[in-house]
């Protein structure tokens, strides 16, 4: 339930912002976090940024998501061939 997704802030408009992860863009809220800047990586829970992440550490998780995604795509291609 307390799932958190790391995303990167790409645009800020007051308490609202656009964030991106793995090509997926979402509108998020910044009510619970002070001093957010474009380019920051934040942990998103139920549409709200709840904590900032170290950029290097966020990239690590995003890379993992990409790997899982790519693995999933390849699997689908394999099953189509069969």
């Amino acid at each position: 339930m307390c799932l958190g997704i790391p995303m990167q802030i790409i645009q800020i408009n007051g308490k609202e912002a656009a964030a991106e992860a793995g090509g997926v863009k979402k509108s998020i809220r910044l009510d619970l976090l002070e001093g957010c800047k474009t380019g920051d990586y934040v942990l998103i829970h139920t549409g709200f940024a709840i904590e900032k992440l170290d950029e290097r550490e966020a990239l690590e998780t995003l890379e993992l998501i990409r790997q899982v995604y790519n693995a999933g795509v390849h699997q689908r291609f394999d099953s189509k061939k069969k």
């Binding site: 009510d31 976090l33 549409g47």
Partner: protein, 365 residues
Amino acid sequence: MSSNSILQSIHDPAIMKPLADALGKHVLKQPLAIMHVCGTHEHAIAKAGIRSILPEGLRLIAGPGCPVCVCPSHDIDLAIGAAMRDGVILTTFGDMFRVPSINSSLEMVKAKGRAVRVVYSPMDAVRIARDNPFKEVIFVAVGFETTAGPIAATLAADPPRNFTIIPSLRLIPPALTFLLERAGSALNGFILPGHVSTVLGRRGYLFLETGYGMPGVIAGFEPLDILRAIIDLVNQAENGMPARVVNLYKRVVTENGNRKARESIYRVFEPVDASWRGIGVIPESGLSLRSEFEHLDAVRKLGLEPFAESVDVMPGCICHLVILGDAEPEECPLFGTVCTPRKPTGPCMVSSEGTCRARYQYRRV
């Protein structure tokens, strides 16, 4: 080992294996019981098969860490009752949708043609309220500290007049206190919930050290995070030093936590004694709307009342024992036979974070 070097190698089996081997071969000085209180931890533990590599005598207990599982049927019945009314759109997180009450669920209510909508964020529920000004839009506010922040921020951001909530939020520290003080408690340490800890910070758990001499480790959700937490807790239990609360999830959790989130929560809510499904009332463990925000309480506004027959523990179900770690899911005669994710009897089989659900899903790992 620094948190950065752990991260670089967090998915590296070469790092993972020696740790797992060392833990598995360790001979305990005495039997130990470690409890986590987080559904996401249980999911990760079951998925990675971590229990299968633990040394003999080390029990890893899933405590009350799934907000959906501990939501009393009283509150589910309030939501079902609200959804049955004309002119209401009931909104809920997906986890709550299928939780059974004695003779219904929100899913069954929706199947009868009532307006029940699953949302990802409380702000989505507000959007539905703005789009439907002539409907009463009610959001079932379930969750721990992590979720209480966003819900409080939503309520403080001037939602429309036709938006209300059914408050059913719960707090983790009072539950830890309850677990330590109840009769027969024999725990040797807690794995502390990673994302609840973003709000509380390490300081939020210092009462474990000072009040109970109980070790705790804040852990992330990778198998390596959980292994490190277990190893730290075993070391603490065996080295005879004073108990410490350790933060092993520093890439996300800070010493002081998220002050702004805590301020948001306590601006809108105040602590109140609250019932946990199958456990009973835990003092100051729930959140009730402050008087300035009472108009946002659907129970009050619509005069919602629970059904007379609200039942927390379904006949034959042992979810209440599983939630406290007093029984393993496999000890339940209904587990995997009558009670499955497709047709759950108790709440622990419903949410993907419920102990029974995680154990069922990964039962061959």
